[in-house]
């Protein structure tokens, strides 16, 4: 394994971390459109909170996918063709929620506004759940043949472990979204988000413990890397505790950073466990490795130069755009 290959393995992890941290909360906010927001005016505010951002957040996914294609084509090909149906459903969910914000705002009848609100809610739920399920299934190991083609059947990737993984990521995104709402709104919405999180955090703890137990039985992570795996699982729980403390003591930034770091811990856990593999095959001989799945040194070198010259500029204006919209949104008058 060369340094460049290692660097790109880490960079893919960083991009997915960015994706889960950012799109995590806008998935969460998307889920809240229907049940959490009580009326049209509240829904306007809830959607407006992610209005300027959700599209940019989704670009992290597109960048992660593109970077994976560029740096590890074998990984990209095996993962994307192998999880065909899951990814197809993710795409459908992302499409529905993606157009829902713009379309809802321009609907004139109650019925159609309602339709796009449900599209946002269900789309966001499904996307978060399916991403969680996909990555959980991936680390459990899949049937992969000599050519690197994955030949998984439905129950290879839909089982107790992957379902728990899916639910855990969904709940994490949901609390992250609520923590974001607490930061971005005021009045009734802000208070309700706090109340919801007081109930949801205990559920999340239960989910995380169950996930850790299943992780022990369903993957080789604890067997191969007992120290780091345990450390990351502990970190995950600590971040969640910090976020919960932020809920109980009403420290809003602490909660938001805590739930974001929890999501990042999950990504780190996955990438740490994968290393030095990128896809885990049931037959270890066919697992895809960092060293034999990457692009040529020339391409990796090129990508490294380009990334490190473009990314800092992107980060500057990306962060600036959050700064521009840093202000809280007022709650609708009737609820204030």
């Amino acid at each position: 394994m060369t340094n460049l290959q290692l660097l790109w393995f880490i960079l893919i992890g960083v991009l997915f971390s960015g994706f889960f941290f950012l799109e995590g909360f806008d998935f969460g906010v998307g889920m809240l459109v229907k049940s959490f927001a009580k009326n049209e005016a509240e829904r306007d505010v809830v959607i407006r909170s992610i209005g300027p951002h959700w599209d940019g957040n989704e670009v992290w996914l597109i960048t992660a996918g593109g970077a994976m294609f560029a740096s590890f084509p074998m990984w990209y090909a095996t993962l994307f063709s192998g999880f065909y149906l899951v990814l197809f459903l993710i795409l459908a969910a992302l499409i529905f929620r993606g157009v829902s914000f713009e379309f809802r705002a321009n609907m004139q009848t109650e019925k159609w506004r309602n339709f796009w609100e449900w599209a946002s809610t269900i789309g966001s739920f499904c996307a978060a759940f399916l991403f969680g399920m996909l990555f959980t299934a991936m680390i459990a190991g899949m049937p992969i043949d000599k050519n690197g083609d994955m030949t998984a059947h439905f129950f290879d990737y839909v089982n107790l472990f992957s379902l728990v993984g899916g639910v855990a990521v969904t709940v994490l995104s949901l609390v992250h979204g609520l923590n974001f709402i607490r930061l971005k709104t005021s009045g009734a919405l802000r208070e309700r988000a706090l109340a919801w999180n007081k109930i949801l955090y205990p559920v999340l703890f239960a989910g995380e413990v169950l996930f850790a137990i299943l992780l022990y039985f369903s993957t080789d992570f604890f067997a191969k890397k007992p120290l780091t795996t345990t450390a990351i699982v502990v970190a995950l729980v600590i971040f969640t505790c910090l976020a919960y403390w932020g809920v109980l003591g009403n420290h809003e930034w602490l909660s938001f950073i805590g739930s974001g770091l929890s999501l990042i811990s999950v990504v780190v856990l996955i990438f740490n466990g994968l290393f030095p593999r990128v896809m885990i095959a049931n037959n270890p001989a066919y697992s895809l490795l960092i060293k034999n799945s990457s692009s040529s040194p020339y391409t990796l070198h090129l990508m490294t130069i380009l990334t490190f010259s473009i990314l800092p500029i992107v980060l500057i204006y990306f962060i600036w755009s959050y700064w521009v919209f840093y202000k809280r949104l007022a709650s609708p008058k009737q609820n204030a």
């Binding site: 049209e40 306007d44 505010v45 959607i47 407006r48 209005g51 940019g56 670009v59 996914l61 597109i62 960048t63 593109g66 970077a67 994976m68 294609f69 560029a70 084509p73 074998m74 990209y76 090909a77 993962l79 994307f80 063709s81 192998g82 065909y84 197809f88 795409l91 992302l94 499409i95 993606g98 157009v99 713009e102 379309f103 705002a105 321009n106 004139q108 083609d149 994955m150 030949t151 005021s186 009403n250 420290h251 809003e252 692009s295 040529s296 020339y298 391409t299 990508m303 380009l306 990334t307 473009i310 992107v314 204006y317 755009s321 919209f325 202000k327 809280r328 949104l329 007022a330 609708p332």
Partner: protein
Amino acid sequence: MLNLGLDILGLARFQFGMTTVFHFFFVPFSIGLAFVVAVMETMYAIKGDEDYKKMAQFWGKMFLYSFAVGVVTGIIQEFQFGMNWSEYSRFMGDIFGAPLAIEALAAFFMESTFIGMWMFTWDRFNKWVHTLFIWLVMFGSSLSALWILAANSFMQNPLGYIINQQTGHVQMVSFGAVLSNPQLWSEFPHVIFGAFVTASFVIAGCAAWRLLKKDHVTFYRKSLNVALVIGLIFSLGSIASGDIQSRYLINNQPMKFAAMEGLYKDSTNKGEWAAIAGFDNKQHKTTWSVDVPYVLNLLSYHKTTGTIKGMNTINKELHAKYDKKYGNDINYYVPTKTLFWSFRIMSGAGALFALLAIVGLIFNRKKSQLIMSQRWFLYILGLCLWLPFIVNTAGWFITEFGRYPWVVYGLLTIADAVSPNVSVASLLTSNIIYFLMFAGMGVVMIVLCHRTLKAGPDIENTDGYAAGDTDLDPYSKGAFNHD
């Protein structure tokens, strides 16, 4: 399972065609609208005329609808390579992945960030800064076209690579060569100019329908003027860049060029050009045609003499060149009728756009009322708002069908590129659902644009986006407390 005679190759090809065509309804529309809206807002910034601000906001609404659909259908494109074309991804990843990743990093971030800024900050920044946002959106989306076309150009005309002897995959040896591919520099201007033309004629068409109803005459006449000036400049640009691009094919992809001109036999020195023709694809011959002498040579070489190789000759040459490697049972003929008619639709429409723009600008002169009395012209303009979408599709039909049987010209056949592990059932399901979703989104798009048009430019922004904009400062005293 029921055997419907469907195979993964056919379904994967259909899916690629369907998703790309649908995606590409919105891409040129969005890029073009970003440009036209940017021009309008710049005019507002310079002249301070509120009408131009209203124009930027009004046509900007259509831009936002189109952008939303373009974004979500674009994700399908990126995922599709891995999902449906895993062998292609393995073979091409070393070259194809890099432009795709840079597209996301350099272009999509810029586009998505500044579109958010543009949408929500009309009253927050001074007009020059706000205008800069839409130019950055437009610049970002053009950049994204550049990168994806760099990837496409490699598939049309591979340059800057070697074949890795161990893996058999292509490997990049010169990024400079990939980027300086002549195919790219004829394709990119053509696509961008085409995008500007698309937006101009949709705006012109919409304005024409409203003018027929004598609705907001000043506003729509001004819009029409901006649209037609842009439309004229870039339809001429499209024709010029299209000419460069098609002449580049003569040596580079001779089969594509011959099919565009419907030449089965080699042409004679007289350069007879078939304006319209019928073909027998099985017998590989032209059954009838209406010929005009010299035009073929004028189009191909910009002079009256010369000859062009016909498809039958090229077919023999390709067999001689590739049979050793790929066997002799590959069919090198491309779908002649599709290419022949697509080319005629595209080039005919290009000329029509330029003509309409000139006539329209004459009728719409500031001191003249001609545009209001020439109702026949407004009807034609109104109908032509659909034409750019057909023309864009025709252009891609030529480019992509004309590459048959290759996915990467001369290096990888379409049949060898498909994912072997995806089932017919999965592909059929996804095809059907995509189709239904696209149909739904297409209908919503049309309804929204129509409604926006009917509501007119005076309606204030009805988006829920204005919600809660009486912002509170989270850093002000007490904001962190729960009181």
